[in-house]
Amino acid sequence: MASAARYLGRSALSMARRGPMAIPYRSFSATTPSFVSEDPPVPPAPREPRPDELPAMAEYSPDLLSKEERSMYDMLAPEEREQFDAENHRMVEEFNDPQKRAAAFAELEKSVNQIDKEYPMRFEDIRDRRVGFWGDEEDDEFAYVEDADEEFNDDDITSMAHAELEVHREIREYARIAAWDMPLLSHLAKPFTLPPQTHILRFRYTTYMGESHPAENKVVLELSTQDLTPKYLSEAQRQTFLKLVGPRYNPDTDIVRMSCEKFTTRAQNKRYLVDIVDSLVKEAKEGDAFADIPLDLRHHKPKTKLQFPDSWKLTAERKKHIEARRAERQRLEKERAGIIDGKTVIADAARILPALNPALKAKATEEREKVAVRVTGKAQKKRLR
C-alpha cells in the first residue's frame, strides 16, 4: 500500500516538474461561466455653477421678506426702514450687475486662498505610542473612578461626598417615615377573624412589587376535601372527587391544590379555577363513581420525620425514675456476691490447671515418678527377699 502511494507520488512529481500546465477549463465545474452584470455607471458629479451663470435676483421689495423678517421689518422705525431698504436695493443691484458680481466672487476666492496660505492644512498622523512588552506605560483603566472630579477648585465638597450626603438624606427620610408615618398604620389594622365556613376555597396571588413578571397573573387554589363532605359531597363522592383530581391531592395534609395561568388577568384565572372546582364537584356527584379503581397515591412520597419518642423526654418525673433505677442498680451491684473479672479468671485457671501451667505439670510428673520409684523399689525389695 505504502509503495503504491509512493508510485503515485512519484508520477505526480514528474508531472509537476514538466512545468505549469495550461488548464483550458475549470475541470470541476460543469456550468457555463456566467457573469454578473456590472453596476450602472456613476454619473459624474454636477459641476458647480460659475458666478456668471447664477440667475439674477429679483428686485427687492419688503413683500418678498419671509414672515419673521417681515415682523422684524414692521417693528423698525421709519428711518431705519428706509436705510434697510436702501441697503437691500444696493446689494441686489450689485449682485445683478455681472461685473460687480465677478469682482466680488474673485475677492472671495482670493481671501480663501489667503487663509489656506496662512494656515496650511496638514494631516499629521499621530502615531499611537508603542506599549512595551510589559505594558508599563499603559494607562491604568482601573484607576479611573467614575465620579472623580477632573479638577478640584476648593470651592465645594467632592462629588463623592455629595453622593454620601445623598445616602444620608435618604436614610433620614426613611427614618422619618418610620417614626411618624408608620405608627399611623395601626389605625388600618383589622382584627383577624377566621374565614367563615362557607369560604372553603383559598386563593393565592403573587405580586412582584410593581415589577412586571410573567407569573403575575398566576392564581393558586387550595381546598381541603374534608370541608366538602357533609355539605357538598358524601363520603363516597369525596373519594370519587379525589380520584378525579389525581396527583393534585396531598394525602398527608388532605389538601387539593391547583393553579392556573392560562389567561392574562388574575380575575380570569380565578374564575376558571372556580369553574373547575364546580365541574369537579358536579362530576363527582353525577358522573362515574370509579368505585372499581383504587385511589392512586403513587405521586406522593410520604416524608417521614424522625423524632425521638415522647417517652425519652427528660421530665422531672422521668429524672426521678431514672435516678431511682440507677440507685437500685447500684444497690444490687453492691449486694452481688462476685463480680467476674476475666483477668482473675484466667490467672486462677493458670494457677490451677496443669494443662495451662508447665510447672504444675512438671511437678505432677515428678511426684508420679517418685511414687513409681517407691513402688518399684518396694517391688525390688520384695523380689530380693
Binding site: K343, T344, I346, A347, A350, L356, N357, P358, A359, L360
Partner: protein
C-alpha cells in the same frame, strides 16, 4: 509458678537490680530485644495480675534517698574525681585536707576549701555566708536543671517545714479557688482514658500495623476480617510447641498463649523482628563496588520487616485462604519451623560482617 523477673519494673523500683550482673535468659541482641518488648508484652502477661507494681509514690515513706527514683540522665555513679577522692580516703586514711595528688585538686569542692581557709571565709559570696549562718544545710533555691524531687513526690522532704507549709496553704488556696470556679461541674472529672479508648486508636498498635500490612488495594475492611480470622486461629489452634533453639521472647508459658491472642501475635512478631537492616551503599570502597552497611531499625520498622517476612513466607503455603496461610505461618514461626527465622539470622550475620564498613560510612 516461679515469680518472673520483670525487667522494666525492676529497673525502676529496685535499684539493687541495676547492677550490671543482672542475667537475662537470652544474651546479646536478645537482651535489648526483650527489654523493649517488656514495655507492652511482659507487663501484660498472665503474671502481671498477681504482682503488685511498685509505684514511685510508694517510696516516699522511707525518706531514704537511695529509694528515690533516678531520672534517666542522672548517673548513679559519682564523678570520676570524687570517686578517686573516696578511694584515696579509704586507702590512705589521710583526711587532713591536703590533697593527695594534683588532679584531685581540680575536683575539690569550694566549700571544703572555705572550711579550711578562715581568711577566705570573710570574702566569700553573700549567699554562702547566709548558708553558713542559717546552718540548715539546705538552700531555699535549687540549682538543679533536672526536675526536682518536689515534682515527683508532690512535696519534697528536702524543703524545710516552713516553706512546705506555705506551699501547702498556697496549693489548698488554689484548689479552693478552682473548686469555686468550676461550680457548674456536676460530676467528678473523668480520669484520662487509656489510648485505646479513643475510637481512632482503638486497636493495639501492632494489631493495627499488621492489619494495614495485610491490606491490599485499600480494602481495609477485608483486611480486618482477615485479621479477625488470624486471631481466632491463634485462639483456637493448639498451643505451640516451642523450639528451644528458637525460643519466643519471654512471656507467659506456651499453653497460656492462646488465651491472649494479641499478646501471642506480639510475641511472634517481636521475636522474629530483625534489629538491623542492610543498606547497600556505593562509592565508599571505591571502584563502584557497593558495600553493605548495617542500619539500626526502630521498633515500628522492625515489626514492619517481620510482618512483611511472615506474609511473604506465607505465600508459599498451599492453603486456599490467605488468612489461613498467614495464620499457619504465624504458628510455625512460634514453633520455630518457619523460614523467617533463617532470614532474620542471615540478616544479623550480614550486619555483623558489615560492622567494619560503618567507619567508612561515617566519613
Amino acid at each position: 509458678m516461679p515469680p518472673r523477673l520483670n525487667l522494666f519494673n525492676a529497673r525502676t523500683a529496685v535499684p539493687v537490680f541495676r547492677q550490671p550482673s543482672v542475667k537475662v535468659s537470652r544474651p546479646s541482641i536478645a537482651t535489648i530485644n526483650s527489654a523493649r518488648s517488656t514495655r507492652h508484652g511482659l507487663k501484660t502477661g498472665l503474671t502481671s495480675s498477681t504482682r503488685m507494681q511498685q509505684r514511685w509514690s510508694s517510696s516516699t515513706s522511707g525518706g531514704d534517698n537511695s529509694e528515690r527514683p533516678k531520672a534517666p540522665a542522672e548517673d548513679s555513679l559519682p564523678h570520676v574525681s570524687e570517686e578517686a577522692a573516696e578511694i584515696s580516703k579509704i586507702m590512705d586514711k589521710k583526711c587532713d585536707g591536703t590533697p593527695a595528688s594534683p588532679e584531685l585538686e581540680q575536683g575539690t569542692p569550694i566549700s571544703e576549701i572555705l572550711q579550711r581557709d578562715k581568711e577566705a571565709q570573710k570574702h566569700m559570696p553573700k549567699v554562702m555566708q547566709d548558708q553558713i549562718k542559717s546552718s540548715t544545710g539546705t538552700r531555699s533555691f535549687s540549682t538543679f536543671t533536672r526536675r526536682s524531687q518536689a515534682e515527683l513526690h508532690g512535696q519534697g522532704k528536702s524543703f524545710d517545714e516552713q516553706t512546705a507549709a506555705v506551699m501547702a496553704s498556697m496549693i489548698s488556696q488554689v484548689n479552693q479557688q478552682a473548686e469555686e470556679l468550676h461550680d457548674g461541674i456536676k460530676f467528678d472529672p473523668v480520669e484520662t482514658l487509656p489510648k485505646t479508648e479513643n475510637f481512632r486508636t482503638r486497636y493495639d498498635s501492632l494489631l493495627e500495623q499488621f492489619t494495614k500490612l495485610l491490606m491490599t488495594d485499600g480494602k481495609l475492611s477485608r483486611a480486618q476480617k482477615d485479621m479477625a480470622f488470624i486471631l481466632d486461629h491463634l485462639r483456637t489452634a493448639s498451643p505451640p510447641q516451642p523450639n528451644p533453639k528458637r525460643p519466643l521472647l519471654p512471656g507467659p508459658p506456651a499453653p497460656q498463649l492462646p488465651l491472649n491472642p494479641v499478646l501471642y501475635l506480639t510475641l511472634i512478631v517481636d521475636s522474629v523482628a530483625p534489629l538491623i537492616k542492610i543498606r547497600q551503599q556505593k562509592g565508599i570502597a571505591g571502584g563502584g563496588a557497593s558495600v553493605q552497611i548495617p542500619v539500626p531499625l526502630a521498633l515500628r520498622q522492625r515489626r514492619r520487616t517481620a510482618i512483611k517476612w511472615i506474609i511473604d513466607a506465607s505465600d508459599k503455603r498451599r492453603d486456599s485462604k490467605f488468612a489461613q496461610r498467614v495464620a499457619n505461618e504465624l504458628v510455625s514461626v512460634a514453633e520455630g519451623r518457619s523460614g523467617v527465622w533463617d532470614r532474620r539470622e542471615q540478616q544479623h550475620k550480614l550486619g555483623i560482617a558489615g560492622r567494619s564498613n560503618l567507619a567508612g560510612a561515617r566519613r
